[in-house]
């Protein structure tokens, strides 16, 4: 019972990280049709910001906040420097630009900081266990799920209650008409990148909490998974990104836990077969994006 519950918690907490990352990709994609391959580096950058803040003996919540803010600012800076000049370019050029940004940041991390992992010392109470009667659950998994839920709730409130949030949803459907209403395109795009970066920052905090170190390639694998999650959810669809993230995380952990030992090395093959099956069943993803572009 304990093991099963704990595995379920792990599944949801990993799924939550994928969901937040996929959401960050989807927020940008829905508005500027750019698949930002530098998203993983934003996550890594947030990791280094958390590491640096802890080095300066800042309390953990402050350090995590610093990571989120650093990634949000970096995302806005990347948009301003790399993507805005390419605004009128086609999707392929944007894609290649994002690869370039990704490689540049990774080289900066490797040569400017270190190619080797930097340990991030977390307070011991985080690695503990909470006991509910007969059940023991890890604090990190519970905290991670709570932070994921809070982030999703905050984003949802932002998207439905604020003018900028409404504008972002409208921009995903018909950006030109939104500009005709007088809402500044540059501001909407900048905020989309900031939110995407902040989500990468939150994911970095959760990822580090489970692994205890940060290295230049930290963001690569989780963001690769998030791409898969965004695609099975329906590229550009925000609810789809969340659904896809949780589905992928849960599938990974459950295969990991319940595959027979001789099949374990092929876990990713099982997970990806499931992904293929989902895409055959629903080629546009679980919850397809609604683009209001004219027919």
């Amino acid at each position: 019972m304990d093991v099963f519950l704990q595995q379920c918690l792990n599944a949801i907490s990993l799924g939550g990280i994928y969901a937040l990352l996929a959401l960050g990709l989807a927020v940008v994609f829905s508005i500027v049709s750019l698949i930002n391959f530098a998203h993983g580096e934003l996550m890594t950058l947030a990791g280094y910001a958390i590491y640096a803040a802890l080095l300066f003996a800042m309390p953990l919540p402050v350090a995590l906040g610093a990571g989120v803010i650093a990634a949000a600012l970096a995302a806005m800076a990347i948009e301003r420097v790399a993507f805005r000049p390419m605004r009128r370019a086609d999707a392929t050029s944007l894609l290649i630009t994002s690869f370039a940004v990704s490689v540049i940041l990774r080289v900066l991390f490797q040569n400017g900081i270190s190619a080797r992992p930097k340990p991030v010392a977390l307070p011991p109470e985080l690695s503990g266990v909470v006991t509910f009667g007969p059940v023991h659950l890890s604090v990190i998994a519970l905290a991670s799920i709570a932070i994921t839920i809070l982030s999703l709730a905050a984003l949802s409130l932002f998207l439905t209650r604020t003018t900028m949030g409404r504008a972002m949803r409208a921009a995903a459907e018909d950006f030109q008409v939104l500009r005709l209403m007088g809402i500044r395109a540059n501001r909407v795009i900048a905020v989309a990148f900031a939110i995407s970066g902040a989500l990468a920052g939150v994911s970095a905090a959760l990822w580090i909490a489970q692994r205890g170190s940060v290295d230049p390639l930290m963001g690569f694998v989780p963001v690769l998974k998030a791409f898969i999650a965004a695609v099975i959810g329906g590229l550009g669809s925000l609810p789809g990104a969340v659904a896809g993230g949780f589905a992928l995380g849960i599938a990974e952990v459950l295969f990991q836990a319940f595959l027979p030992p001789e099949a374990l090395p092929f876990r990713d093959a099982f997970v990806l077969s499931l992904v293929v099956a989902v895409l055959i069943w629903r080629p546009d993803g679980l919850i397809p994006a609604k683009t209001g572009r004219r027919s």
Partner: protein
Amino acid sequence: MTPTSSAPFLTVTDLSVRYGAVEAVHGLSLEVERGSITVLLGANGAGKSSTLAALTGIAPAKGGLQFDGLSLTGMMPEEIVRHGIALCPEGRRVFPSLSVADNLHLGGAAHVKGDALAARIEAELDRFPILRERFHQRAGLLSGGEQQMLAIARALMSAPRLLLLDEPSLGLAPKVVDQVFDLVLSLRDQGITILLVEQNAERALDIANRGYVLQSGRLVLSGSGAELAGSDLIRQAYLAG
């Protein structure tokens, strides 16, 4: 706001709109008088929508665009609407997954905030009672006529002095078409200058103070509504029978 000068409200001089190799509008000049209804007629692809796109800054334009003493050439769409020109685009283009409330909110949010914004939404709901009934529904679930009302209401949220309407009666039931034309008249009576693009030439000329006819991006005919309605070209091309 009474007309204080005899200068036209909107003056378009030698306007050209080019998309890559295609020139959609060629050397167009026209004038819109303050407080009038002006109609742009022409077949599909004659350059009517491109003219409106140039006026709102969403198409690259060459030539003079003078609006109430201000040059619009080279301005961004976000700026132009702040100076009082709103476009209700062809095909309505409401934000389908957003509610009626959110669509109206976005129409006014760049111009007024808080209570003033709420008051403008309230005024549009009084003008279009059907939108009050549909207030919390997704715009995409509305009927074509309701979406057209929403699109016009959303454009009016910016309290424009010049309203550009692109094919507002397209694809609507005859009863709803009547409503749209009645609405255009009542907006003009409230002091909003109207530039209307219509395929329903008969109805449009009936309410127009002045009309312009485009063919392949060039101006071929202009005159008062009555003059145009009586012209041979218009009778043959648009008023069959």
